[in-house]
Symmetry: C2
Subunit: 717 residues, 2 copies
């Protein structure tokens, strides 16, 4: 399967692929120093990455060649698996090459998030449940700000139709969408303990250990490597055969395992008391929009294009939840379905608004060639055909604007195109917004052109019309082929059933009529299906009429462009990208959250516990409250410096401090978190200034220009 | 069971209880006329209601007497069932006596809500599922506004800690809370079709039909009536006996029925691939707060009181969902848990803010006496002890303010106190905010003082400490009773287990030590439980020490005051209370929704399809958008009057119209929905005016005083 040169290439660089020695938590850097550190190592990095890039490209070229030669699908799939492994090796190396001091100290971040109750494992007093997390007050406020910005940025700005559909979903809906059949993995079960494992992962591990056994003969090694590479493409029977052949046991207990079985990732339940109606917790919010398409279209006066949106929980019964908020069993999604005439996808009125935006695009081609993402304007990307159409490009741009607005570092954001083997057969193009985190590149938003797949599924299953009527600007002349039943002959032969048959014949579409004629001519008879029944009609039982007709309206099943957001993943990414420690004080962790998503907008602090400060604190607090600005009073003991540090830790961007000057001059100080600089202004003015800073109407520089700066006791410990 | 006079009384007034003849949909009235109609009939109503009030009071007095005499519980329960029936009869009569023309035309409302896509049955293209509804764009926007106001009114205003916990809940949590054992009804199942029925309801129906059979002998009649009255208090075995005795069959098919079985109303599922972990969809959001209590307390620096809040979906597998949004299987809740020192419930700092508020209170006493709700200030209600404490009273007041602010008609809102038989044994007082709708009085918000029940359940089940530490202002001297084990004697007898026993003895609380002494003295020995094991200790194995000690901190398990909001019910009530038709035009239905909850805040309408209007329409729309004001452009054909009517139908409070004058004078008109009056102002000013009207900074009267009024073509059809 693998050409010799590639194997030796891989061996040669296996040293590079080995995990770095575990080092103690690196000292985290302040953001500007971090940036410098990243730049300096760029050249050195490429020297190390080069060979891995070559390895990817060689495999990519091999696959292109295999496809050109028309090699069997299974062979191509195995080669693709190998390509994926090489890509993973390249990405891992890229991650390892990030200078230690520029890496985030995830332990410290997680400690901060847990201690300040952003989120925490759910039900921990009962021992917890893997993959379930609860958002505490800070995480909940941040999520709520994030979703409210999402509503502003997408729903309000684009005039989308937001709906809120049910989580409980009856089986036929998810049967139609393909989720009951395809949303699954193969599992094996420890026959004694009942513990479950993903069959493909376990097979890979076993092959890995066989290959690395020094006693393994070379000819076997190659076979095992092939099996490992193919692990995720075997059928249930093939997997069962391999598990028997290698006598694979539970890696935990050594017990026997059940044969591989299909495990559906949806949570199943029963709706109603009878137990007859099987339901699932929705695995995505999108289906709720598709099943309501007719109502939404009607709400939009029957006109295309329009978009519907939904925010809500979805559920996946992950086999092995891991990586904190990144792979969980219950999560929040925000999804958009933009419905558009399939032939009008490439014209989007507002595309010009994003055409000049430079975006980091990681094309399928670059992935095959072992290259990195490249910066391109969306205008160029669509013009060159890299991004399939203007509509898809517009949403890529809007997603980029949203993510960077809420605090995703643009330097750690790329849009990765799905390679043809990853993409569902119906999708015409798909770009994932991926963010670089300490877990590697994480898919945070998917943006796919799903053509008319989803609606067509429901049209077929529910037998309802889901087409939009397109009013043609100019009437169209179309060729019509019609079946004209010979009433006499049919009536004589079929008696009571004649009516049903004649109705069915009359309802055939032009293409069906053509097919009927062809079949009857070639085979001498045509087999007509009506419901469950089949009728054999002789050639003399119908005639074919051909004519032209003028139509003013045509039926269109719209295409769907689907941007789909994983809210928890985005939230976690923003937290990682905002996390740092103060220069010169490693213990002072802080979050540089944008004011628009920070869980609390403003702190109100009396300089000390002196009771005279209290009325001023109350006055400011109630004035902030009346403006709808979230705030937190910290009148606990502790120096003002320590209390500033506590507010920084939860990312509060602004802080008003009442001090002794306040008593006479009716002023207080206002501190900005990022610069830690302060100004002094009157108690009346302050809430307005804070409000303008949050909304972005005023910048901190402007505030410093307008009000006197104040040198506060920031560092008092 | 029933005294003869009461029976004759009931017979005498049975005429009054019979349902009114079905009449065609009444002509709906405009709101002022409706109010007059209601007032005029007040006197006449009381004449008809009097006897029913007497019937209720007599039964109430009977129960009081039975309790005083200490009659057996089952007898009292049966009498309470009868009381409930008489109360229902009284309420039904009250509802019937609402003049036809003042009643809402529910059919017309529902048609409007469906047609304008506020909400609709879910999955209807697949035949639908009872009890599941999807919110369309209008309902979703309204719900989102309502929840955002709830956050402002409760979370922000009171500084509550909002969390977002999981829907999936492992079994032990709901076992501890009592939901797996008690959150159920008895069911019987058609043995052939599997159709299910609530056993108590079916038994009531069967008794009802036996009693109404003219051939039924009088002595039997009395027995059947008793069974009917007791139907909801029988045990599973008793029910099974009755079903056999009366050979009760399925009312639908006549098939045999299964014996009664417990049907839990929670949706069950399995978490993780092993199938070993049973989970449920939460039946309320409250448990998510209780299991996180420790973290929340810590977040609040260990201080009481504080409140936590949560908005989210909850699920109940209703046997027979009905009444639209009122009884559904998946619904949104908003719950608050206010944690407070049990002895400090009666002091709430901000109570004075609501003390003068007049609230319609329907006390348990008035319910027993057949009286109506009475208007009282909350100050008086708490002072007199009617409402248990200031904290509970404060929340009753805040709930009242919230509901009336979002559009609940204060004349159709009452707070009904739970009668002692309705209240959970642990609750000390409970008031439901009930709203009068076409379905009768509907519970929209519960507000209960649940004492320390919930936390104690989890303390016991999860074996974790959930107490707050109360720092005493003055140190307290307490009596301590301690068990001092006699090491020698215990060691000799129990050998290896001696250590476990001595540790367990040393850990006994003062009251447990007292009990141990008493038991050992009376019975000669004391039985000590350690885990699963029991040890019999002779009196000589331990001594009792008594002394005093000074404590500065005491452990306190806080009490919980729980306001719990059913979002869908509130939303439906607001829609009903806002619904009317325009005076003189029955076809023109409209919703008088307050601007703060209306799904869309402002419409933008060109007077006609003249293309010159378009840039003005766009200018206004983008200016509204930049202020975050939701708006809807209606540039469809149709007269301006018809388009106003369409915006009224979805409750849009304000509308800007661009007309021919706009072209020259750069002005447009602004129309207010309720008065249908208009003013004219400049295009620059208009968005600001709309914004001030929505926030309440400007009233419409003030706007009319400041800008010239405009007589528009309202009635153009």
């Amino acid at each position: 399967m693998f050409s010799r040169p590639l194997q030796s290439l891989l061996r040669q660089y296996s040293r590079l692929l080995s995990p770095p020695a575990v080092s103690p938590s690196p000292p985290a850097l302040s953001l500007p120093r971090l940036h410098r550190a990243l730049m300096a190592t760029q050249v050195e990095k490429e020297v190390q990455l080069g060979p891995l890039r070559v390895a990817v490209k060689e495999q990519g070229d091999l696959i292109r060649a295999m496809k050109a030669e028309g090699r069997p699908n299974l062979e191509v799939q195995a080669a693709v698996s190998e390509l994926r492994k090489r890509k993973t090796a390249l990405e891992k190396k890229e991650k390892d090459l990030i200078p230690q001091e520029a890496k985030i100290d995830r332990g410290k971040l997680e400690d901060t998030l847990k201690r300040r109750y952003f989120y925490a494992p759910a039900f921990s007093i009962y021992g917890g449940v893997a993959g379930l997390y609860d958002y505490g007050p800070m995480g909940c406020a941040m999520k709520s700000n994030l979703l409210s910005l999402w509503r502003q940025h997408f729903v309000l700005e684009e005039g989308m139709l937001e709906i809120d559909s049910c989580i409980l979903t009856p089986e036929p809906v998810l049967k139609a969408s393909g989720h009951t059949d395809r949303f699954s993995d193969f599992m094996v079960k420890d026959e004694a303990t009942g513990e479950c494992f993903r069959a493909d992962h376990l097979l890979e591990d076993v092959m890995e250990s066989l290959v690395s056994d020094p006693k393994c003969p070379p000819e076997k090694k190659e076979e095992y490597q092939l099996i490992r590479a193919k692990a995720d493409s075997y059928s249930q029977e093939e997997l069962a055969g391999l598990f028997t052949r290698f006598s694979i046991k539970s890696p935990v207990t050594g017990n026997s395992l059940s044969p591989p079985m299909d495990f559906n990732l949806m949570f199943k339940t029963s709706i109603g008391p009878g137990g007859a109606l099987t339901g699932f917790l929705r695995p995505e919010t999108a289906q709720g929009i598709f099943v309501n398409f007719k109502r939404l279209l009607e709400f939009n006066n029957g006109k295309l294009p329009f978009a519907a949106a939904q925010i809500g929980k979805a559920f996946r019964n992950e086999i092995s939840p891991r990586s904190g908020l990144l792979r969980v069993r219950e999560f929040e999604m925000a999804e958009i379905e933009h419905f558009v005439h399939p032939e009008k996808r490439n014209k989007f009125e507002k595309f010009s608004n994003v055409a000049d935006l430079s975006i980091s695009l990681f094309s399928a081609c670059n992935q095959m060639d072992g290259k990195s993402a490249e910066s391109l304007t969306l205008g160029d990307a669509v013009r060159s055909g890299l991004v399939a159409n203007e509509t898809l490009g517009y949403f890529v741009g809007r997603i980029h604007l949203f993510l960077t607005r809420i605090g995703v570092d643009p330097g750690k954001l790329r849009f990765r195109q799905h390679m043809s083997n990853e993409m569902a057969h119906y999708a015409s193009d798909c770009w994932d917004a991926e963010c670089l985190t300490s877990y590697g590149w994480v898919e945070c938003v998917g943006c796919a052109d799903r053509s008319c797949y989803d609606l067509t599924c429901h049209v077929t299953a529910a037998k309802v019309d889901m087409s939009a009527k397109e009013q043609l600007s100019e009437p169209l002349t179309v060729d019509v082929v019609e079946v004209a039943p010979e009433k006499g002959v049919i009536g004589k032969q079929f008696r009571k059933e004649a009516k049903v048959i004649m109705d069915a014949l009359a309802a055939l579409s032009s293409s069906q009529a053509e097919a009927a004629e062809k079949e009857a001519t070639e085979k001498g008879s045509y087999e007509l299906e009506v419901g469950d029944k089949k009728y054999t009609l002789q050639r003399n039982m119908f005639k074919i009429k051909r004519y032209q007709k003028t139509v003013h309206v045509v039926d269109v099943i719209p295409s769907v462009i689907e941007p789909s957001f994983g809210v928890g993943r985005i939230l976690y990414t923003v937290l990682e990208h905002s996390f740092g420690v103060r220069e010169g004080d490693e213990q002072r962790a802080w979050l540089a959250l944008p004011p628009c998503v920070a869980p609390v907008s403003c702190s109100v602090l009396p300089l000390s516990s002196n009771e005279q400060f209290s009325p001023f604190v109350q006055q400011i607090a109630s004035s902030l409250k009346s403006r709808g600005i979230s705030h937190k009073i910290d009148d606990s003991g502790g120096s003002i410096g320590r209390r500033y540090a506590r507010t920084d830790e939860i990312g509060i961007p602004f802080g008003v401090t009442v001090d002794f000057d306040s008593l006479q001059s009716k002023t207080a100080t206002l501190r900005e978190r990022d610069s830690m600089r302060q100004i002094r202004a009157s108690l009346e003015e302050l809430p307005g200034i804070v409000s303008s800073l949050i909304s972005g109407q005023l910048s901190w520089a402007e505030v410093e220009g307008k009000w006197p700066t104040f040198t506060g006791p920031e560092s008092t410990q």
